[in-house]
Symmetry: C2
């Protein structure tokens, strides 16, 4: 399960993606708009900044904004920053491999064999989905919803 931190972070990124090229957004506004504790959000955005996803401007007219186009930021990148590696076990992680403590031979570990597939399936989706993709999917879903609504009326 994703932590609240990660969910907050993803919500913030989607919000910022929608406001892309509209200049810096205040933490306070973002927090209020998305119902996220302001101080907690500060820490999250800072982490995303320190990892190159966001940029910030201090002082009046300041705020946070995406470091690059929504087309170039993926869910995978963001989740790894906030939640850690995607891999269910460290020994199948591409981005931060580590030997499993007392897991005899790596090649013949049943857990590893299965989890390798799981990691790959997750990575394929999360590294293949950009913020721009998500905005598009949200818009599509909203259109569908509107259709349902009209149908009901």
């Amino acid at each position: 399960m994703l932590s609240k931190k990660t969910k907050y972070g993803l919500k913030a990124l989607i919000y910022l993606a929608r406001q892309y090229d509209k200049g810096p957004i205040l933490i306070a506004d973002l927090a209020q708009e998305e119902n996220i504790p302001k101080k907690f959000l500060e820490a999250i955005l800072l982490a995303l900044k320190n990892n190159g996803i966001l940029q910030s401007k201090k002082g009046k007219g300041g705020g946070y904004y995406l470091a690059r186009s929504p087309k170039l930021i993926t869910f995978g990148q963001a989740i790894r920053i906030m939640e850690g590696p995607l891999a269910p076990v460290p020994c199948v992680s591409e981005t931060s491999y580590a030997k499993c403590t007392e897991c005899g031979s790596e090649e013949t570990c049943g857990i590893r064999i299965v989890m390798k597939d799981v990691r790959e399936a997750m990575a394929k989706i999360l590294d293949g989905t950009t913020l721009a993709d998500v905005l598009e999917e949200i818009d599509k879903a909203e259109e569908t919803q509107k259709g349902v609504l009209n149908f009901c009326i």
Copy 2:
């Protein structure tokens, strides 16, 4: 990341699958063989028993054994018992759905749209992989390893 509890549990299940129809296995033996703290393993096996994956016999000649054929026990079943739902967010869980706290409209939530795909991909693998499958894959991997070894000699 899988918890140690889950890894221990999976290891135990694979071990018991290999010993299937060889009668009950002692917790103590399993713990020693797989390097798992005995008391911790006790609790794990009990949970797996209470959820219908394992059965046990008390007294002399007792121990634990699979409740049914390794072909009928999947990784998905076991992981859900020890780790909880596969879904990254509760609102896409098939086995224990729950509304996400303050996630406005479910249909148009960007996080949900993506995580629905992730859950499906994971479930497809984990619910499609039985203990019997894993044993087979391990054997295959061991054959390959032996080949590598012979080649080196």
